[in-house]
């Protein structure tokens, strides 16, 4: 091989490694800077150098000076994310179950559902805002913003459930039925527990997509902000490292949620040890 260097690696290895290094730099560089600067001393500013190390700016967030409504927006975001999670999980499971039958218009319904993934979020948010205005209902985070966010999380949830169900062997359901389980018992005792790792995945998506949703939420949010909107407002108003402290906190929350989800999936998988080979039979079984 002529293109190989002395230690046997092709040049593409170095090109891709360099690209990946840049990627890491752009992803984690700014985040680490914000993380470090959030521990700025009380007299420090928005940029390096660090003027001592303190938790001053984290305290400043909570005591709510001029640094925006952190506690209010944070709790709203968490509550909204949990509502979105719950609705997304329930609807996605039901839709996933329904789409296993080729009902009339299934394809059209599916494309209509996922089309919202490619619609510009800002315009969709604008539309929702206008709709509420026409209806003379004042927009709020728990109504108009909730709806706008669901247009984003539901298609994702549906797509994940499709992937989850495509690997689900229907013989489990038939076995449950054969052993005398009612449809509800089959769902509760067999289908949902087997699908649980996938369902946790949907929940994780629902929560995190809602938690940092910005474009769709911006216009129909009403008078009280969610956290991402509050941060956005603060970037123009607040000129203290409290902004960084906020960034560090919200990132920590996101990581915590992901860690909880992944840990629970890992625990479930370990409990089942190595998986059975899933050979899904065709409609005739022996076709």
């Amino acid at each position: 091989m002529t293109a190989r260097s002395s230690n046997g690696r092709p040049w593409t290895f170095y090109a891709l490694a360099a690209f990946f290094t840049l990627f890491v730099l752009f992803l984690y560089g700014p985040m680490s800077a914000i993380f470090i600067l959030s521990f700025q001393g009380p007299t420090g500013g928005l940029t390096f150098p660090m003027n001592g190390v303190s938790l001053h700016w984290f305290k400043a967030l909570v005591v709510q000076q001029r640094s925006g409504d952190f506690v209010g927006s944070f709790s709203r975001s968490i509550v909204l994310a949990i509502i979105v999670l719950a609705i997304t999980v329930v609807i996605s499971i039901m839709a996933g179950l329904a789409f296993r039958y080729r009902f009339r218009g299934a394809t059209a319904v599916f494309y209509m559902a996922i089309a919202s993934l490619i619609m510009p979020g800002l315009l969709l948010g604008l539309g929702v805002g206008l709709m509420f205005q026409f209806a003379h209902v004042s927009p709020a985070w728990f109504s108009s913003a909730l709806g706008a966010q669901l247009t984003w999380t539901l298609p994702f949830g549906l797509l994940i459930m499709f992937a989850v169900f495509s690997r689900f062997n229907r013989a489990y359901e038939e076995a449950a039925r054969d052993l005398g389980a009612s449809p509800w018992q089959t769902l509760r005792l067999v289908v949902l527990p087997i699908l649980l790792p996938g369902i946790i995945g949907v929940a994780l998506f629902g929560f995190t997509l809602s938690y940092d949703e910005f474009p769709r939420t911006l216009i129909p949010i009403g008078s009280r902000n969610t956290l991402p909107l509050e941060i956005w407002a603060m970037t123009t108003d607040v000129t203290s490292p409290a902004l960084y402290a906020l960034g560090t906190l919200t990132t920590a929350v996101s990581f915590a949620v992901i860690a909880v989800a992944l840990t629970s999936i890992a625990v479930i998988q370990r409990r089942r040890a190595r998986r059975q080979r899933d050979r899904t039979p065709g409609p005739l079984g022996d076709a």
Binding site: E174, A175, L179, G180, A181, R272, D286
Partner: protein, 392 residues
């Protein structure tokens, strides 16, 4: 729940969209018998099993268990239990909870259902694995768990969908004997779906050979193997050579036929003898063939009856016998299974010119509808193709 596991299929038909999976089948399986549905992939055998189980609904016809129609009833009300291909053990439940599942959905308390599940597991020597997850068990152990899970419902009919296909060869042979023993012990009806000929005749009282959604022959294992009804069954079961020809003489208990190459065969006939000029099929068991090296010139062979000359195509040692495949000019390959001592006293080699002979009384006349097979309308099953039998 049906009191008896006597199964009756009356003109059962099943269509999937445009595909006809089961075509107007009538079949009776007596209570307490072991019945095998045998056939190649897609022949409809699994569909029949699933209709008996209540996992498919017949498009037309009636299914009766213990004398009453069960169409539309859920599986538990039929008194059936099914053992699924690959077992479908619930991966999130322990072995104990898998076996206790039926009791759980019936509302039996935890202590009681675990006690009974342990009893059932003890019967198959799996009680020490009660707290394992299914994925931690070997294939053979999983199969016994699946069996226990089905039998705890106290069924009148146990339906087994390819129960041995997920096991390795050694376990397969061991478990098929075990299944037969369990069926005898319980005295209930077993319906077992398989595509393996030797598995079917090894375990079953009655074998139903299926092809393209229809029954080719339903009879005892011995009869299916030694007295096939049609050329299809003869070829599919694999123990026979199929002979075809035109009747040229009828004399008493035997008729003589001649095939396209001029070879002459004789076959005994019982009740209705075929008429002169009629096209008939018969078969000769592979283990009744004598094969020896050709000494006389070929022309003299052509005149004799029940003699074919050819060259050895393949020799396969099978332990107690040696399978010799012979290329015969102008017809499908001919197979003789020679006892090992006979082969060893007069060994043959590939390429040898040989002559195969057999006695008329070992020939069996095929009576069923065999013309379609002979003209090659139906594709031969894989097993037959592997054995080198070709449709002309």
């Amino acid at each position: 729940m049906a009191a008896s596991g006597h199964i009756e299929l009356r003109s059962v038909t099943k269509r999937f969209d445009q595909t006809l999976a089961v075509d107007d089948i009538s079949l009776t399986i007596p209570y307490g018998s072991y019945c095998c549905l045998l056939g190649p992939s897609g022949c409809g055998k699994t569909t029949i099993l699933r209709m008996i189980a209540g996992h498919e609904t017949p498009t037309a016809g009636d299914i009766r268990i213990g004398g009453e129609s069960v169409v539309g009833l859920p599986p538990v009300r039929r008194g059936t239990a099914m053992m699924f291909q690959n077992y479908a053990l619930f991966p999130h439940l322990t072995v104990l909870d898998n076996v206790a599942f039926n009791l759980k959905v019936r509302g039996v308390g935890k202590a009681e259902r675990h006690r009974r599940a342990r009893e059932v597991l003890a019967q198959v020597q799996l009680d020490q694995f009660a707290d394992r997850m299914p994925a931690q068990l070997s294939g053979g152990q999983q199969q016994r768990v699946a069996l226990s899970r089905a039998l705890i419902t106290e069924p009148r009919v146990l339906l087994l969908d390819e129960p041995l296909s997920a096991l390795d060869e050694f376990l397969r042979l061991q478990m098929r004997g075990e299944l037969r023993r369990i069926q005898r012990e319980l005295g209930i009806t077993f319906v077992h779906v398989t595509h393996t000929q030797l598995e079917a005749i090894a375990v079953a009282d009655a074998v139903v050979v299926m092809e393209e959604g229809r029954i080719e022959q339903a009879a005892s294992a011995h009869e299916i193997y030694t007295l096939p009804a049609t050329a299809y069954v003869a070829r599919f079961m694999g123990g026979q050579n199929v002979l075809a020809g035109t009747v040229i003489a009828v004399n008493g208990g035997a008729v003589t036929l001649v095939d396209g190459t001029g070879a002459r065969f004789a076959t005994p006939v019982t009740s209705t003898a075929p008429a002169k000029g009629q096209e008939i099929f018969c078969c000769i068991r592979r283990d009744r063939i004598k094969v020896e090296k050709l000494r006389a010139p070929l022309s003299s062979v052509g005149e004799a009856t029940n003699v074919l000359a050819g060259t050895v195509h393949a020799i396969e040692y099978q332990g107690s016998y040696v399978k010799v495949t012979i290329d015969v000019p102008g017809r499908e390959q001919f197979v003789g299974n020679l006892p090992d001592h006979a082969f060893l006293t007069a060994p043959l080699d590939i390429g040898d010119a040989v002559v195969a002979r057999w006695a008329t009384e070992d020939v069996h006349l095929l009576t069923g509808d065999s013309t379609r097979t002979a003209t090659g309308v139906r594709p031969l099953p894989l097993e037959a193709q592997r054995d080198g039998v070709r449709s002309r």
